[in-house]
Amino acid sequence: MNNLLIGLIIVGATYVIYLAAKNIHKKVAISFTAPVITSTIIIVAILLSFEISYETYMIGGKWINELLGPAVVALAYPLYRERDVLKRLTVPILIGTTVGAVVGISTGILLARFAGFEDLLIYSLTPKSVTTPVAMAIAETIGGVTSLAAVFVMIAGIGGVLFSSLVYKIFRIDHRIGRGVGIGSASHAIGTSKALESSMVEGSISTIAMVVSAVVVSVITPGLIAVLM
């Protein structure tokens, strides 16, 4: 079989598995069934049981990977749609996400360093608070592992959703804007879908916070690494 055929089969199979995972998530709408998690588990299980290497899978996988760049560019669209809210709330959203970005990057680096993890792992978990395609791009520029970065992003997403009510309660975050900025900055798209369940306002604030924090984290990460590493 030539590579073109293998590639096509892999792209097709990945798409079908993704659609199935999306359907599962519709029926069991909890954050643990996020399509990326189910799809990844199914594909890894198939590859391991047929003893297919990741490198073989990537013959087709790299075609999908190629679209990660435009996928990040496309995030300007949801931000543009919320531009009126963004204009009205520029100050609280921008300052809130920036504070969150600094806290997230520094505590991630410092705790991991303190625990004695190697640099490769530290750089992979540094961008954990931002949406996956951006986190992978950042991890790549600073010398982390993109697929590990994606796993840490998932942990931040699901963990944030699971503990959000507790955090709101302990820190008395009861304002819709505080909650939207908090969950969007910490738990990106997974958090945003949770915020959308609470209210439209919280959802749009969370969307804005997610995209803004992606930009802020990519800008300040190299500087903070220079200081903290």
């Binding site: 990326v36 990741y54 504070v99 592992v145 304002h175």
Partner: protein, 123 residues
């Protein structure tokens, strides 16, 4: 079929903006990923009406609605790193989780505090 064509053309436009972002990154020697630069450029172009939202809308919506599909191949790569999570790896999960809750608390408190202050000023 028309919609599929639109999606493909729109994604091609997004891809060109991504390449332009990459070019800026290399030309200026920036650390910010080219894709993020591209995102900021698209937002500016849309806000200033230099690009009509209808030129990218279908493609952007398709991508955003199916965002997870585009990084599945990358997350599958975790299969090469299973041994990293054995043993001390659990500690990494705890660190990521703890740091995430700090992000949520600090950003939430900050924006809420600013909101309360603004609301008081308006009264």
């Amino acid at each position: 079929m028309l919609n599929v064509c639109k999606i493909i053309i729109h994604i091609a436009i997004l891809y060109c903006i991504y390449l332009f972002g990459n070019w800026i990154q290399t030309a200026l020697g920036l650390f910010v990923p080219g894709s993020v630069i591209g995102m900021v450029i698209l937002f500016i172009l849309l806000s200033t009406n230099l690009i009509k939202v209808s030129w990218v809308e279908n493609g952007a919506r398709f991508i955003v609605d199916n965002l997870a599909l585009f990084f599945v191949p990358a997350t599958v790569g975790v299969m090469n790193y299973f041994d990293l999570f054995a043993g001390k790896g659990f500690l990494l999960v705890v660190i990521v989780l703890f740091s995430t809750l700090l992000v949520m608390a600090s950003s939430g408190i900050t924006s809420q505090w600013i909101m309360h202050r603004e609301e008081r000023e308006h009264e």
